[in-house]
């Protein structure tokens, strides 16, 4: 009996201690820039997306670990009318952070804002499959349906990005349904998010979520300072860590380091194939030749790149879909081999010849081109330097130029005054529809030759056809077949020469509990409402 009383007392004390530990707890991490807007419809930058994720309530949510869709504010949903209509049943008795009740009118209002042609919302554009109006019907107290002018493949998953706004709250977009709300914004310095008292979720024991009371987001562009602050315990985690720092973390405290494996992000290069570009005709001929592109690709040692530049925390890339995208990746593809002999064979079939260590084309022009990349990104600079040595082995001279981002984008999208470019693609979405604006030949982000009136090559026409087919099909298997073919063509033609897929690296303090870093963004805090801090002394800000 005595023992039972003692153990009960112990449990009570533990509970009390944990309750005290949790009260006033603040999770701290860094944003790399100031959020441009708090309006979830207009968010496009990383910082704003972070705020949206932490504060916005969504109808359903892609579980970043299982990559499956889970109910949130909608308890159930049904896609009908061949993918044109989606009907939601909404959760009852939910309130916004300011106490305003949540209902179907709010979803209708959010959709109206999202699809407003004047706002040009990036999230809204994902829903625009064809010209026409989106019709929202309120079907009752907790039900509504949304009908789009044309079928949208993967329609339900798109709602993972749509934070619901209140149609009636005087606080407008600052009234939220997510686990936190913005309570303080010190421009250029930090943001404080406080626990949403009206957040609807509870854990299995009935405790209101989230566990952590507040989040302090320090605006810190300098990654060195961010890293130092982590080591000193001033912040709790770094969501996306560079390979170099990751190794430092491992050396200092291996328990903090998390490598979730290969991510969705890819680093790649491409040649300028724009017909009107101000580059010599003979160079245009090189860049539009599949053999030339394949030869360059085969002459690059991707394994070395992954091992040296990314210290082994990357792997050679194969194509537009990363192996991390379990469902959509074409597993039949293999990385391009590093084979300089084969590269020279391909080049000789196009009339190139190696003379005294210099590669010359049919007309005798020495093969030399420039590659531009964004300044300040030392990983890309190192990659380019490695490519420089690799290509010199087959007689190609590569000149590297680093430019600040606006100048680079201007050359890429307006003047087309460049020869090759090395950049990376940050991919947040699993569904291939998110890459429509890259692969369609008419798209603005079809970087090697954008906004084509008619496809310049037969293989681009084929990709157009396949991408349209996958976008209009509702059968996932069929869509996968189409997309596998797109990946195969991209692998053969190499308009983008994919180099590496980086690993999703993060560092998390041992004080943060229930952390399961994943490859999908946001890697560390995707389950923010489940995270807790185990510090015995509550940290106050």
């Amino acid at each position: 009996m005595k023992r039972r009383i003692l153990s009960l007392a112990f449990l009570f004390l533990c509970g009390l201690a944990s309750a005290f530990a949790q009260s006033g707890t603040t999770l701290r991490f860094c944003l790399r820039s100031e959020p441009k807007t708090f309006n979830p419809v207009l968010m496009a930058d990383d910082a704003s997306e972070t705020i949206r994720y932490l504060t916005g309530g969504v109808l359903m949510h892609v579980n970043r670990q299982t990559q499956e869709l889970e109910p949130e504010l909608a308890t159930s949903w049904k896609v009908s009318d061949q993918g044109k209509t989606i009907t939601f049943t909404l959760r009852d008795k939910v309130r916004f952070s300011d106490g305003t009740p949540f209902g179907p009118q709010d979803v209708a209002y959010t959709m109206q804002q999202l699809m407003d042609p004047a706002l040009h919302s990036p999230t809204g554009d994902a829903f625009r499959s064809a010209e026409g109006k989106v019709v929202t019907r309120v079907l009752g107290k907790n039900r509504l349906s949304i009908t789009f002018p044309a079928p949208i493949a993967g329609l339900d998953k798109l709602f993972d990005q749509v934070a619901i706004m209140s149609s009636t709250s005087p606080q407008k977009e600052m009234a939220v349904l997510g686990p936190y709300f913005v309570s303080e914004n010190k421009a250029g310095s930090y943001l404080m998010l406080s626990r949403n008292p009206n957040y609807w979720k509870h854990d299995s024991n009935g405790h209101a979520l989230p566990f952590i009371d507040s989040i302090r987001l320090d605006i810190q562009q300098n990654r060195d300072i961010e890293m130092l602050r982590l080591v000193r315990g001033e912040i709790d985690f770094i969501n996306s860590l560079d390979a170099e720092y990751f190794d430092k973390v491992i050396a200092q405290n291996p328990a903090m380091a998390h490598d979730a494996g290969v991510s969705l992000d890819a680093e790649f290069m491409w040649f300028n194939q724009v017909p009107t570009a101000s580059i010599p005709a003979y160079k245009k001929a090189w860049f539009t030749s599949t053999n030339f592109r394949r030869a360059v690709s085969e002459a690059i040692n991707r394994e070395d790149m992954a091992r040296i530049v990314f210290r082994g925390h990357a792997r050679p890339a194969m194509g537009p879909i990363s192996p991390a995208n379990k469902f959509w990746f074409n597993s039949k593809l293999q990385p391009h081999p590093f084979d300089q002999k084969s590269a020279l064979q391909r080049l000789s079939s196009d009339g190139f010849r190696l003379q005294d260590g210099v590669l010359r084309d049919r007309e005798g022009h020495a093969v030399e081109f420039s590659i531009m990349t964004n300044s300040g990104n030392k990983y890309r600079e190192r990659m380019a330097t490695m490519m420089q040595q690799d290509l010199s082995q087959i007689g190609i001279k590569l000149n590297i130029t680093t430019l600040d981002f606006p100048s680079l984008i201007e050359r890429m999208t307006r003047t087309f005054d460049y020869e090759a470019c090395l950049l990376g693609l940050v991919n947040n979405d699993l569904d291939p529809n998110s890459q429509m604006n890259v692969w369609l030949s008419s798209a603005e982000n079809h970087q090697w030759n954008p906004s084509q009136k008619t496809p310049a090559t037969a293989w681009e026409a084929e990709i157009d056809k396949l991408m349209h087919a996958q976008a209009s099909s509702l059968d996932p298997k069929k869509r996968k077949e189409y997309l596998d073919k797109v990946q195969q063509i991209a692998w053969e033609q190499e308009p983008f020469i994919y180099l590496v897929n980086k690993n999703a690296l993060s560092a998390v303090s041992s004080a943060v509990q229930n952390v399961h870093p994943v490859v999908l963004r946001p890697q560390v805090y995707w389950n923010i409402d489940q995270l807790s801090l185990s510090t015995q002394v509550a940290r106050s800000h």
Partner: protein, 285 residues
């Protein structure tokens, strides 16, 4: 009165030209009117076209005339990259920079003048060599290295400005004080056995004061311009960091305002130096 009016007119004129030059520089810089958002693969062609159409602006002259018209009504415009009124941004950031500059100047002057006085009064080569070495070392280390050292050593980055100002203050004031200390009346005072402190306060410093005042003006300008890279490198939320962001984002409205502020501070500081120099010249004559 007319001198003051002329001075104000000159300052206003140069500041306005500075603003115009700033605007021209941004307008014709590569990457003007380009937004990183254009690379967002979620955006369709229509949205990208619209984004581009929003960025295209009128000619520099017309833009600047509009800006000046708004300025007369106290409106400094809205920052394109940060999507906030410039007045608010400056109100938020300026105090931070002022604090950094004030701290930096206090540190730079305290160190520089103390070492200079110690060198002149003690006439010990060790003190001179030590201070000269320190000044030379600080002049030799790139600001970016100093910034990272400060970050690693957990020293508030504001002190970095002090180390930028210190070598100039030390070298110049040491030369000035040494010159004053070798003047005949000072040597006489010394020979008569006056206390060192008294010689310093009554004879050396007053003679060097006008030129030290001129140096103060230059050091304000120096600290202010150094604040831009220091704040950008150390992530301090002042106007220096704002200027760096404005430059990278080709934020014409923000950059005009910041150029005008920096021009104004440089002009006032240089004018202060010139006045002090002239006053000294007149007194010496």
């Amino acid at each position: 009165m007319s001198v003051l009016a002329k001075f104000v007119a000159k300052v206003v004129g140069i500041v306005l030209i500075g603003g115009l030059l700033g605007a021209t520089l941004v307008r014709f810089a590569p990457g003007f009117g380009v937004d990183e958002e254009e690379l967002d693969t979620r955006l369709n062609s229509q949205s990208i076209q619209n984004l581009r159409a929003q960025q295209e602006s009128v000619s520099v002259g017309r833009f600047y005339a509009d800006y000046l018209a708004r300025l007369l009504h106290g409106d400094l415009g809205v920052s394109r990259t940060l999507q906030q009124p410039v007045t608010r941004l400056l109100a938020d950031r300026f105090p931070e920079t002022l604090k950094s500059v004030a701290l930096g100047l206090t540190l730079g002057w305290s160190l520089g003048l103390s070492f200079a006085i110690a060198t002149v009064l003690t006439r010990a080569w060790v003190v001179d060599a030590l201070a000269s070495f320190l000044a030379a070392l600080l002049l030799c280390l790139p600001a970016a290295v100093l910034a990272i050292l400060f970050v690693l050593a957990r020293i508030p980055a504001q002190f970095l400005l002090g180390l930028v100002v210190f070598p100039k203050v030390f070298r110049y004031s040491r030369n000035l004080l040494a010159r004053s200390a070798s003047l005949p009346h000072v040597l006489t005072a010394r020979a008569k056995g006056l206390a060192t402190g008294r010689i310093l306060l009554w004879h050396i410093l007053p003679t060097a004061a006008p030129q030290l005042l001129a140096l103060a003006g230059v050091s304000i300008s120096l600290a202010f311009t150094a604040a831009i890279p220091v704040e950008a490198l150390c992530d301090l939320p002042g106007i220096g960091q704002l200027a760096w962001k404005a430059a990278l984002g080709r934020d014409i409205t923000l950059l005009i305002n910041l150029t005008m502020i920096v021009t104004l501070v440089t002009l006032l500081a240089n004018s202060m130096s010139e006045w002090a120099g002239r006053a000294f010249g007149a007194r010496a004559a």
